[in-house]
Symmetry: C2
Subunit: 392 residues, 2 copies
Amino acid sequence: YLETLEGKYGQEGEKLIYKFTDHGGRKIALRYDLTIPLSRVIAMYPEIIKPFKRYQIAPVWRADRPQKGRYREFFQCDVDIIGSKSMLCDAEVIAVGYHCLKKIGFNDFIIKINNRKVLNGIVNLMGIDENKNHILFRIIDKLDKIGIKGVENELMDTDFSRDKISGFLNLLQIEKKGDELLFELENKLESIPQGLEGIKEIREISNYLAGMGVEAGHYEFDPTLARGLDYYTGPIFEAVLKRPKIGSIIAGGRYDNLIEIFSKQGSPATGISIGLERIITAMEELGMLPLSSTVSRVFVTVFSRETTRHSLAVASQLRLSGINTEVALKEGKLSKQLTYANNKGIPVCIIVGPDEIGSGKIVIKDMINNRQEETSSDNLINRVEKILENNV
Amino acid sequence: YLETLEGKYGQEGEKLIYKFTDHGGRKIALRYDLTIPLSRVIAMYPEIIKPFKRYQIAPVWRADRPQKGRYREFFQCDVDIIGSKSMLCDAEVIAVGYHCLKKIGFNDFIIKINNRKVLNGIVNLMGIDENKNHILFRIIDKLDKIGIKGVENELMDTDFSRDKISGFLNLLQIEKKGDELLFELENKLESIPQGLEGIKEIREISNYLAGMGVEAGHYEFDPTLARGLDYYTGPIFEAVLKRPKIGSIIAGGRYDNLIEIFSKQGSPATGISIGLERIITAMEELGMLPLSSTVSRVFVTVFSRETTRHSLAVASQLRLSGINTEVALKEGKLSKQLTYANNKGIPVCIIVGPDEIGSGKIVIKDMINNRQEETSSDNLINRVEKILENNV
């Protein structure tokens, strides 16, 4: 229902929700993300044992202008932990994202970590009205896209005073990095308990990440990270590639007050969302995607209608051994069948004709080394596996 | 776009399409099935090497009345072969469905096979106007739901003559089964080439299915199978469970003329669609779904904030060995942590406290047999794997 989604994604997100009226006159909408639906489910089923961990891979829809790696329908891969305030949860979901990127083959990426409490602390320190935080956060969140000058210009269009804006930007722009920057901010925020709590949480997450095998250099504190969504309450994170520049490929944060919108009995929660299409786009650009037009490892030829059953039996034998196998879908010229297998990049062909059936032999053709050999049915699997191994 | 889907699903299907106008004023619709989108894609990319095989698991939407195993949003698992008229393709997609059901654990199911050409042949034989076939097919398709009396009543409401209707029903109702029935119909249809072709195709498919390891008794010719969709041109199939009665769990057929709607260069095609929700509903009713509230095999306790890193290291070691592992998300009472693991049904717990860290030992608790043992870090994986094996 539309009302489940409304008022959760901030002013700009709200505009991107696909909404319509169904045949029964109900106001409904397409999923904008997987976090709100998860929160509703958690609220509806209080019997779920907590802490509750789940992943979900599903399409979501946004009425946005399509661009590189960004579509109106796209897949999010979400990992969330519900029911614990421990920073171990935040570290764990970040670690899942890290290990996913590593396993796919990415090396040049950085996971930026910040905390809404630190941002709130800075806002307090500057004497900016806390109710206007979200305006500020949404503008800083564009830093990567529009640069510091762009952010400054957009801030000038708000009713924050020039002094406050430059003070705020100065604090974010501290020329130090990592631990040193964290220490610097800690000193500045010493009178703001919320800010200090945020810094403590960032330190705790960093400590756990190291314990979870996340390599140093792949995560860093970044006080300019803001995230646009309204519902974050604590740590926020975002993974970006050094190249290509296609925005964040993982994003997330803690949303301790979201579930209580749907039920009296709230629950703290944190999670990440991995953007599948952006990752695929980046992998394509970086040449990380293996170009394969098939998953078949073996192609079994068919000589004639009468010998089809024999070819099928050979294919069944291979498939039962876990080898992905195709059978020619039409009897006919052997050369034509082999050309098809070759065009598809299938590395091994099996030739089964009346001669082979008569002699009890099977011909195996190694398409990559252009060699062929004869073998008995008993030896088929063995020989095929050997050729496939050598071809890897 | 709505126009892609319109006019493809028959009168009744058409009503169930979710359609709306988007922000840009475009008339759009939600996927009704995966076959039409596939056909559009094939038409758009003629460079795809054929025969082309693909599977796809994705949600589709129908504005239908929800009922047992039937929802407005549900998942279809489709398997299709594009670009070949060979009955090997039809047999192969049926065999995929068969092997899927077997692998999941179903034994009491039957795959019904019929052919639109046979139905057309019968219609011709009865002298019924071929343009009204679809009316006829849609009514027979309800046979399982409304029974033969219901079908007869609905046919009486059409403008077919009473004579033709009873002749038609008599032909379908021949009291024989399988090969014998096929032979009977072959005799009756001897003057109708289309009908004979349909019978030949059914025989060919049956022959191939046997070659593909599909057990006899799991498929049979059923002349009353009609399938409601407009786009089928040849063989049609449907898998049903003996119990529970929840309609077909797999359905499909050949659609040789569908792709040419989207491009001049058409392509023959056939495929099946596996209904995920119905299968899950049936498995629940038959007690085939293992009741597990977690995939975690091991739970690592956390003694104190200071020993957390140590617990994380143990968890990393287990995870690197491919063992699904959870770490307590909060230090605190050991009994509370063990209760959580127990409630979740996690079979093995690891206790890591200051004593264990000091002595270099780790305590492994077998939750199922309520036994515990001490081991060294080097032996951890070995011992855990042994306990998990014994617990299977």
